[in-house]
Symmetry: C2
Subunit: 317 residues, 2 copies
């Protein structure tokens, strides 16, 4: 059953790709088999993670650099990670209007990913979706995340090139976030660079960058853009390609890929174990019962978790 | 060994509290026993989760409402969740200067929590830390989170009262985030309300709130503040107390606590299982070896996780 789907994905059939990503999102029973079959075909394209504070104009930037790549004949995947309601579980930016020029282009595949509720797995599902696009042969896959939570950091760390987008003159929290995502930026973009305060933001950024030294010797460039006016996009694309080329030839590359792979194994394992424990260690309805006992303070959650963990035997070979 | 520590926590000894929270952060072997012993003493205070976009002035707001509560003689815990570097693992707002008036007040306990790297657990550790402060008898515990990731949502959902802080006139992403955190807000604050655009932000917020209807019938109030000038703080505190009173008397309260408890059990279980699998199913150094195999594309991560999961037996009783 999965073989034809895998073949269609490798032939870049958008419907097959969309279906595979839906299977990944919904944890369909054959999702893993599809990903296993596709794995050998990954690693040919370049995945670009784009993050930054809300309001930084990441979507415009992603759209414009996608158009730029299209003008060079490159095929493009775009994955937008959406903040979503913790209750409804729905995507809230899912209906954000992307540029028509992209939406109607068969060389572009666009997909939104949303949080899936308590069991988490957004980072895992997003990285899997990017792997599908990579295997499908898209030359560049852009992953856009809103926010600065751990999920976003995990997603951006899994990319080949990590871009941090800033805007001139925001408040103190931005400074902190800037520092927080500082070390994951291979390239820094100051978008909305026509605004007042751009010089100061750039100076602060340079100062921050000078304080930290990367083990790979790369000096992250700072690119000024006004995405809505298509300014600086060529320079931005050039810096993406520079870093991708740098990373490809550097000897530390395997080491870095191993650390990405290790995170990946941990993330997949975490989700798998939780799902199995909930399915296999607890009778249907039992979790709710236990939760009610905690809510009414008859029991504490720590001893409940110890009890569940006690049903699990792990062998070391 | 844990009994004296627990007694000292219940007597609100700040050093004992700080030590217990450090044990929680570091996953000390006796952390669980401490939490189990404290559990029966929790639920007396009110925990208030404060979230919102970066730059919204959450810290000032938290500081000012803490001072207000102090003027009423209430004891206050403050937990600031810091975005942190994914590589260094350190807290970046840890040294943010809080108001001296709070820092030197023995009726106030202030603590920063930071991300702890790949194994996650920030939400779990933060909720545990809040439980310690609650058991210690602080009347109000304010939890302040920066960002809008899943961790932040989990933390705020675990609070008795959830506050979403907005500022006038930010960009499109803010609209999306506003929607994303819309449903977790019991109270909405428009801070920096002296700024241009406050009317429009309030109108948009009212429109958004009218679209959604809460099952408990609560209509989230909108409070305007200028935290740095101490404006609107009394009204903010009053709305916090109103909602806490509403929640205490509502019949659906047990149901909601059960759903909080269920998330809690899942979060604790997730972390426990991963830790055990990494410790017990893999020889030291094996994870790194497997990661290298994935990095060099000799193996795929999905079959590795299947193999590890295969070493785990779960019994249903």
């Amino acid at each position: 059953m999965t073989a034809p789907l895998v073949e269609r994905i490798l032939a870049r059939d958008p419907r097959a790709i969309a279906r595979a990503i839906s299977k990944i999102e919904n944890d369909a029973p054959d999702a893993n088999e599809i990903l296993k079959a596709l794995f050998a075909h990954t690693g040919r394209g370049v995945t670009i993670g784009v993050t930054g504070a809300p309001g930084a104009g990441k979507s415009s930037l992603v759209d414009k650099v996608a158009l730029h790549y299209r003008s060079e004949g490159k095929t493009i995947g775009i994955v937008a990670v959406d903040p979503s309601s913790p209750f409804s579980g729905g995507a809230l930016l899912g209906d954000r209007i992307r540029m028509q020029a992209l939406a109607n282009d068969s060389g572009v595949f666009i997909r939104s990913m949303a949080t899936r509720g308590n069991l988490g797995g957004l980072a895992r599902a997003t990285v899997d979706a990017v792997a599908v696009l990579d295997a499908a042969g898209y030359d560049r896959t852009l992953v856009e995340t809103v926010g600065v939570g751990q999920d976003e950091v995990d997603i951006v760390k899994a990319a080949d090139v990590s871009v941090v987008v800033l805007v001139p003159g925001m408040g103190d929290d931005i400074q902190a976030i800037k520092a927080g995502i500082m070390e994951i930026g291979d390239i820094f973009v100051i978008n909305k660079a026509e605004r007042e305060g751009v010089e100061r933001t750039e100076r602060e950024l340079i100062a921050l960058l000078e304080m930290s030294e990367r083990s790979d010797g790369w000096k992250p460039p700072i690119v000024r853009t006004v995405a809505t006016q298509n300014k600086g996009i060529t320079e931005f694309a050039a810096s993406l390609e520079n870093f991708a080329a740098f990373r490809r030839q550097q000897t530390a590359s395997l080491e870095r890929r191993a650390s990405v792979a290790q995170n990946r194994i941990i993330e997949l394992l975490r989700e798998r174990l939780l799902r199995r424990a909930l399915d296999e260690a607890l009778e249907p309805g039992r979790l709710r019962e236990l939760a009610m006992q905690v809510a009414s303070r008859q029991r504490d959650p720590y001893s409940i978790v110890e009890e569940i963990a006690g049903k699990i035997q792990i062998s070391s070979n």
